[in-house]
């Protein structure tokens, strides 16, 4: 049977991609950003940890989805997804390969479980999906894991609540458990942590709030489920709202144990956060 072995969360700052694509990892600005991923890169290579499939919860940044079509929750079921051209040309990273049978299984299970997913067969994938892959896997010729993309609208309000995201994660876990193939599955939550990219308040960072959020992923998940949009907006900046995607990951885990944490300010306009959680189901 398929099983979820771990949850991984990370910010998806475009600058991380720039740092990798332009070979700047050793520069003083970038060094502390990348240092915190070294543990994870070594961990994820070990045969017992290496995922066959990553369920990657991410948001599109007006790349695949403009205002013409705004799904709240969507799942990629197509064979593969190409890197998007976000205005500066596509990132030079491998094509993202799906496990379509598994993705379709999850899609069906979620819909029967009353999560009305939009199905995506064609989708360019932007930094929201490719930067986390680069951060964890570096620069391989092909990504070492298959990827099932789960897209969450965090751009146009109202976006889904944190609790709804958590419950989607629980439903994803039920879907995974009922897939007959033997698969080591990881679920990744991406985006965050505190950042605001717009208006006179841009540049807002709230390290204290972020660290408490990281603590409570294992310490008090019930508190995190109840955090309202307005609190994310006031405390973590308008783009800090992306943290609801970490709750999809959290909902899919049982009694998670923290294995590794990385927090660094700044990465561009953003507080970079990264955590690895063992699933103890």
């Amino acid at each position: 049977m398929a099983h979820i072995s771990a949850g991984v969360a990370t910010s998806h700052v475009p600058l991380i991609g720039v740092g990798i694509d332009q070979g700047k990892q050793e520069e003083p600005y970038f060094k502390p950003i990348f240092a915190g991923y070294e543990w994870t890169k070594a961990w994820i290579k070990k045969p017992e940890n290496k995922p066959d499939v990553v369920i990657l919860v991410f948001n599109d940044h007006a790349s695949a989805f403009g205002q013409d079509l705004i799904p709240t929750f969507a799942i990629g079921c197509g064979e593969e997804f190409q890197p998007a051209d976000e205005g500066w040309g596509p990132r030079p990273v491998p094509v993202v390969k799906n496990h379509p049978d598994f993705a379709w299984h999850i899609a069906q299970s979620l819909i029967i479980d009353e999560f009305d997913m939009t199905i995506i067969n064609e989708m360019p994938v932007d930094h929201g999906l490719t930067v986390p892959l680069s951060a964890m896997f570096g620069e391989p010729d092909a990504w070492p894991a298959l990827v099932v993309p789960i897209m969450v609208n965090v751009v146009t309000y109202p976006i889904p609540s944190g609790d709804r995201c958590f419950r989607l994660g629980q439903a994803i876990a039920r879907a995974v458990e009922s897939f007959p193939e033997e698969l080591n599955v990881q679920i990744w939550g991406t985006g965050g942590m505190s950042h605001q990219l717009q208006g006179p308040r841009a540049g807002l960072i709230n390290a204290e709030w972020d660290q408490k959020f990281l603590d409570d992923l294992t310490g008090d998940p019930d508190r995190l489920r109840q955090v309202q949009h307005i609190e994310y907006l006031r405390e973590t900046g308008s783009e800090g709202i992306e943290l609801v995607m970490w709750l999809v990951m959290l909902g899919a885990l049982t009694n998670p144990k923290e294995l590794h944490r990385h927090y660094h300010v700044p990465a561009s306009n953003t507080a970079l956060g990264h955590i690895v959680l063992e699933n103890r189901s």
Binding site: P14, L15, H61, A62, S63, G66, Q67, D68, A84, D85, E86, G87, W88, G89, V155, T156, Y157, P158, S194, Q196, L197, Q198, G199, P200, R201, A202, G203, L204, I205, N206, A207, W209, H229, I230, L233, R234, E235, S238, E239, V265, P266, S268, N269, A271
Partner: protein, 134 residues
Amino acid sequence: MGKDLQNYKDAFEDIPGTRVFTTERARQGYWLNQFCMTLMKPENRERWLADEKAYLAESKMSDEQQEALLARDYNRLLDLGGNIYYLAKVFSTDGLSFVQAVSTMTGMNVDDYKAMMDAGGRSPDGVRSIKEGN
């Protein structure tokens, strides 16, 4: 949900220096944002950079939005329904990074903005709520 929805949205307007992308803003900014999406193709970026006004003539966005776009006045564009992830296509086409573009909305020059970020970013203290002044 009627009254709750209004309360939900009213709270957004209480955050200083912030434009939450509500459905009202999304509707107002529709053609502006859809224009930005066209810049994801290199041939469109070339046409735009070669003659911005001519390229804008094909868009249904308002005159105000066109003026703000030509002036790269990002705060004004937010006020007119623009969303930062759409507008990113414009400043990326200009060759600006997120830090360079975002700093223009803060009233700080880019070096001061970078120095603020390097020192830990903008504190939330005092910019959580207009009403509460905290």
